[in-house]
């Protein structure tokens, strides 16, 4: 069965620090990969996605993620975090060949940015 593992449950950073959140998945086939973000009091929204092509994808608000197929990883990065990045971040996997679009989510990482 597919699974997604996020390495860090809770990350605390100071403003301007660099961020990297780990995400690994287990699935033998071709996948689409997503990072969703949930800001306090708001709904889940898409941060960035990968489905093919350049393994380095850029999303909103200066976020980027790199797909490393050999490591089954899709880590999220941001060079300099802001207080407004405080949120919960979810990595998700979707089978490329599936016509259902089912998402398998990781358990989430809570990011707290100190001003």
């Amino acid at each position: 069965a597919q699974s997604v593992s996020q390495h860090n449950h809770h990350v605390i950073l100071s403003e301007a620090a660099s961020l990297e959140l780990g995400c690994n998945y287990s699935y033998g086939g071709t996948v689409n990969l997503f990072w969703y973000v949930q800001y306090p009091g708001q709904h889940l929204q898409l941060l960035l996605k990968y489905f093919s092509g350049d393994p380095l994808v850029k999303g909103i608000k200066g976020f980027e993620a790199e797909f490393i197929k050999s490591k089954f990883s899709f880590n999220l990065r941001k060079p300099s975090v802001q207080w407004s990045d405080t949120a919960e971040y979810f990595c998700a996997v979707q089978e490329s060949s599936s016509n259902t679009g089912k998402l398998i989510f990781g358990q989430g990482t809570t990011l707290q940015v100190k001003p």
């Binding site: 997604v4 449950h9 689409n32 969703y36 708001q42 709904h43 889940l44 929204q45 898409l46 996605k49 489905f51 093919s52 979810f90 998700a92 979707q94 490329s96 016509n99 259902t100 679009g101 089912k102 998402l103 989510f105 990781g106 358990q107 989430g108």
Partner: protein, 115 residues
């Protein structure tokens, strides 16, 4: 474009009571998903509809949970009777199949507390 609407936003019930949640997807989106998000975990798919037909309900506890999407637009998810472990946020999402990937748009969720 209006987003995915859900109601109520919060619900508190006692165990063994019944509860129902409502979701109205983005206009024109044929696919509708219900996810359960328990505190500290990522969302887990409960059921997926394509128009008014069920595509995947393998994770739905059918002894107590039911869902319907009679006219292929809005949907209701019901729990009867509720258990303490049903305390969670219930998320509704919708999508329209794309050529390459399937992006889901999430509603604000309904937070259920079972006492």
């Amino acid at each position: 474009e209006a987003g995915v609407a859900q109601s109520p936003r919060y619900k508190i019930i006692e165990k063994r009571q019944s509860v129902a949640f409502w979701c109205n997807p983005i206009s024109g989106h044929a696919t509708l998903y219900w996810y359960q998000q328990i505190l500290g975990q990522g969302p887990k798919l409960l059921i997926q509809f394509q128009n008014n037909g069920v595509v995947d309900d393998s994770q739905l506890p059918k002894d107590r949970f039911s869902a319907e999407r009679l006219k292929g637009v809005d949907s209701t998810l019901k729990i009867q009777p509720a258990k303490l472990e049903d305390s969670a946020v219930y998320l509704c999402a919708s999508s329209t199949p794309g050529l390459i990937y399937n992006e889901q748009f999430f509603g604000p969720g309904t937070r259920l507390t079972v006492l």
